[in-house]
């Protein structure tokens, strides 16, 4: 028993099944990320004035990631085009590039995540704030027992508001600061629970990264194990490359909005 229109297009719709299926799925993904973006808008609009961070993310790394993804979108399209002209070797080259670009993207993202997780905001007992990247904690550092010291590469500010807009504040040169545990009221890294900005940043980019990972795995599967289907049914294989390519382009599309919204505004 064969299901019609798996490869041939249905005349009145002009589509084969998987293509319609992927567009429907992408429509649902638009609503998924839409839900998250609407959360972002509401949280930002509802934030206290002056308390929404700016400039907390590295624009250079973000730009590199943007260009990497854009390039990968192009290699994805070219991989499909190579399939269409039945050039399997070129398909392999292009999609190898796609996979490498994707992995590089994920690598940079992990670096950015780690950067946030070693960046601490320390609320001091005298009401001021120490803020910077962790260099080291002393061997006897214990917040509960109030022993030891922690060394950060950063600065000390009067008020939490001064930490919000890293674009506006003329950056004083960050220096090495050592803080005693006894002077620390609260110490927290820039992880998801730090404030709603980091929360939505990690959630949005995390979900996006999961999609990148998923897409990479699918493309890798076709790249590594597609030989058999290519030999027996190249048209069906080409359709699979097209459909997975559409998913990949969608993931790029989400980043096209993520990047400016999180990094540039």
């Amino acid at each position: 028993m064969e299901i019609p229109y798996t490869i041939q297009i249905r005349p009145d719709t002009g589509l084969y099944n998987a293509k319609l299926g992927i567009w429907l799925f992408l429509a649902s993904e638009v609503m998924l990320f839409g839900g998250l973006f609407s959360a972002y808008i509401l949280l930002r609009v509802g934030a206290e004035p002056g308390m929404w961070p700016h400039g907390w993310l590295n624009v250079t790394l973000g730009t590199v990631n943007t260009l990497l993804l854009a390039l990968s979108a192009i290699t994805t399209l070219l991989a499909w085009a190579a399939c269409r002209v039945r050039d399997f070797r070129k398909f392999k080259i292009f999609h190898a590039c796609t996979i490498l670009l994707a992995l590089t993207f994920l690598g940079i993202k992990s670096y950015e995540y780690r950067d946030k997780l070693i960046h601490y905001e320390v609320q001091l007992t005298n009401g001021r704030f120490a803020d910077g990247h962790l260099i080291e904690k002393s061997a006897d550092f214990d917040l509960a027992k109030k022993t030891g010291t922690v060394t950060l590469h950063g600065r000390i500010v009067e008020d939490e508001k001064d930490l919000m807009d890293l674009r506006a504040t003329p950056a004083e040169k960050p220096a090495e600061i050592t803080v005693a545990a006894a002077d620390i009221k609260k110490m927290e890294n820039y992880g998801p629970k730090h404030n709603t900005f980091t929360a939505i940043y990690f959630t949005l980019t995390g979900l996006h990264a999961l999609h990148i990972l998923g897409g990479t795995l699918v493309i890798f599967y076709f790249w590594a194990f597609g030989g058999a289907m290519w030999k027996s049914d190249p048209e069906r294989f080409t359709n699979r490359i097209e459909v997975s390519g559409l998913f990949w382009h969608f993931v790029d599309l989400v980043w096209i909005f993520l990047f400016p919204v999180l990094y540039l505004t």
């Binding site: 299926g21 839900g35 509802g46």
Partner: protein, 623 residues
């Protein structure tokens, strides 16, 4: 004449072999037990899997309700007969065999969740849809059989997660099926996290199913099956699938956000300055509880149309079949269903009138809510009018279909004061609401689902269910459903609020005689009536359960593939339909409800029966 026939490729094996498919070849290897019944990709098996599991969940949800009704009627009194069993299984929350307030809350939350997401939606959409839709459009299976299988397993896993949550320390979710923050995040147990994970799995299952349904209906209609020749049931499932596709994801997003709140201690839905137990919470704040409500109800409202549309589809099929005449107003039905689906996305905040919205926005939602009642009324009216002049055949499916009509009418009409913001302010969160939505879903949708079971049983098994016990099932269910839910309107109007684990006894005139508008004894007494009616309703399901299983092996055998004399393609298959469904690809030449056509030998003309007259038939007639 050949030229008029659209060139659809033959879907039998005649085409050039397309290399190695999993099932593309002609040898018939008998699949083992696991691939035949557990990991099947056949839409009929998957439909039955969904149906069976969903009915089990509905039974379980019913039991939760009975325990709750006991507690409401006899607050603090140990549950008779099974109280000590509860204590053994659940421990402290069921201490002494009585249902503690926390346990009551988790029963309430899980009753709602299980009935909606594990019971009605899988049964109405996934079970009936999977089994019947490909048959009705003349397709050999769904568009993506393996995704179909994956969607069932995601559903099953989601159900397992939900059930397991009863046994973790702290028990299941307690914050209502609506899981409002901050309560859902500040309850110090993990039940809510399990609920969220379960929901993500269930939503994934529905999304996969929705993609499959839409693609199947668009792409796999048999030659001649134009859009306006599709049975209304297929249209209803089509709109339902679209609603699921586009409305579920924001809830999935919200679920992820709430899970982050619960597990990663973010503050997406927690406001600044939140205090828990008198202490300032160690949270960043800055979040918005309202955001959860918006994202939840963005799905929550379209979800109710997911619950009702397949039911309307089933009722339409059963009515057309048992009146032996075409449905009245087919086009109106179709356009109304489409309009309802579309509008359902922009009415959601009528669940949020009490949240302090501005007047303009409340009016906007009130207006769209009033407008959406119009197509619902049109659909109901068309079904009523379809009875006019029909030669009505009474059998169990028809009884349930007929019962659906006034019950949905009551449910729908009682929704009007809820859609109007002014009256909703009083009625919100009272028993009036409970009565309203249960009328549409319980004697509404569930009756239609029963009708569907009795109606399609002969196609699935080749036997009829017992007619006498079917009628007993109907009349008892009808009577007791009404006794359970009708009094709740009165209780709600009198001011009895919902989700009170003590059955509102602390607001009763007996407890606080001097309070203004304390609930009078008559209202409180109704709780006992409702309890007994619920028990009777439960007992009334026993004949159905026995009938269902007994008839599989011992029911009266049908003597044809089309015992009801139906026109739609699902009845033109062998019984039960084999893998691939149709012996020969059907070619549709007429509409779906050609009953009692003048001059025809029989009182029904199947959609694919070839024209016998010499006049040329154009199977490519476009809508």
């Amino acid at each position: 004449m050949e030229k008029l026939v659209q060139q659809f490729p033959p879907f039998r094996e005649a085409a050039a072999p397309h290399g190695h498919d999993d099932h593309g070849h002609h040898e018939h290897h008998e699949p083992g037990f696991w691939s035949k019944y557990i990991f099947s990709t056949d839409h009929k098996v998957i439909g039955i899997q969904y149906g069976f599991v969903a009915l089990c969940f509905m039974q379980f949800g019913f039991c939760l309700m009975m325990l709750m009704r006991w507690q409401i009627a006899h607050p603090g009194v140990p549950v008779p007969a099974i109280g000590h069993l509860l204590e053994k299984i659940l421990g402290q929350p069921a201490a002494g065999g009585a249902i503690s307030p926390d346990l009551y809350n988790s029963f309430g939350a899980m009753h709602g969740t299980i009935m909606v997401f594990l019971g009605v939606v899988p049964l109405a959409f996934a079970a009936f849809g999977n089994y019947v839709v490909p048959l009705m459009i003349g397709a050999p299976d769904m568009c993506f059989p393996r995704i179909n299988m994956a969607s069932f397993h995601a559903f099953f896993l989601g159900g397992v997660v939900m059930l397991v949550s009863f046994f973790i320390p702290g028990g299941a979710a307690q914050a209502g099926w609506t899981s409002y923050s901050p309560l859902a995040t500040t309850i110090p147990t993990n039940g809510q996290a399990f609920w969220l994970v379960g929901m993500v799995l269930l939503i994934t299952s529905s999304l996969l199913g929705a993609v499959n349904f839409i693609a199947t209906i668009i792409q796999l209609r048999a030659p001649g099956m134009t859009w306006m020749r599709m049975p209304f049931f297929v249209w209803a499932q089509f709109v339902t699938a679209f609603i699921l596709l586009l409305a579920f994801p924001p809830l999935e997003a919200a679920g992820v956000l709430q899970l982050m709140d619960n597990v990663a201690h973010t503050s997406f839905f927690l406001p600044t300055g939140l205090a828990i137990g008198g202490q300032l919470a160690d949270r960043s704040g800055g979040g918005s509880p309202l955001l959860w409500q918006h994202l939840f109800w963005f799905l929550g409202h379209p979800e109710v149309y997911v619950l009702i549309l397949p039911a309307m589809g089933i009722v339409a099929e059963v009515i057309a079949n048992n009146t032996r005449k075409p449905l009245w107003g087919y086009k109106s039905l179709v356009y109304s269903a489409l309009f309802v689906g579309f509008l359902s996305f922009i009415v959601w905040a009528h669940h949020m009138y009490m949240t302090g919205m501005g007047q303009k926005i409340a009016t906007f939602f009130q207006t769209t809510t009033m407008i959406i009642s119009i197509p619902s009324v049109i659909i109901l009216t068309c079904m009523f009018l379809s009875l006019w002049g029909g030669s009505i055949r009474i059998n169990t499916p028809m009884l349930f279909a007929l019962g659906f009509l006034p019950m949905f009418g009551i449910g729908g009409l009682t929704g009007l004061p809820l859609g109007l913001a002014a009256s909703d302010l009083y009625l919100h969160d009272t028993y009036y609401i409970i009565a309203h939505f249960h009328y549409v879903v319980a004697p509404g949708t569930i009756f239609a689902l029963f009708a569907g079971v009795y109606f399609w049983f002969p196609k699935m098994t080749g036997r009829r269910m017992n007619e006498f016990w079917g009628r007993v099932h109907f009349w008892c269910s009808f009577t007791f459903m009404n006794i359970v839910f009708m009094p709740m309107f009165a209780q709600g109007i009198k001011g009895m609020l919902r989700r009170m684990s003590d059955g509102a006894v602390n607001y009763s005139a007996a407890r606080v005689p001097n309070a203004i508008d304390a609930l009078p004894g008559t209202v409180m007494e109704l709780n006992t009536w409702i309890l007994w009616a619920a028990i009777a309703l439960g007992i009334a399901q026993i004949p159905f359960i026995i009938n269902l299983f007994w008839s599989i092996g011992h029911g009266e055998k049908v003597n044809s593939d089309n015992p009801w004399g139906a026109t739609t393609l699902d009845w033109q298959t062998p019984t039960p339909p084999p893998h691939g469904n149709f012996a020969h690809e059907p070619v549709v030449v007429r509409g779906p409800y050609e009953y009692s056509a003048p001059g025809h030998a029989t009182d029904f003309t199947p959609q694919d029966e070839p024209e016998s007259s010499s006049a040329p038939v154009n199977p490519t007639a476009h809508h």
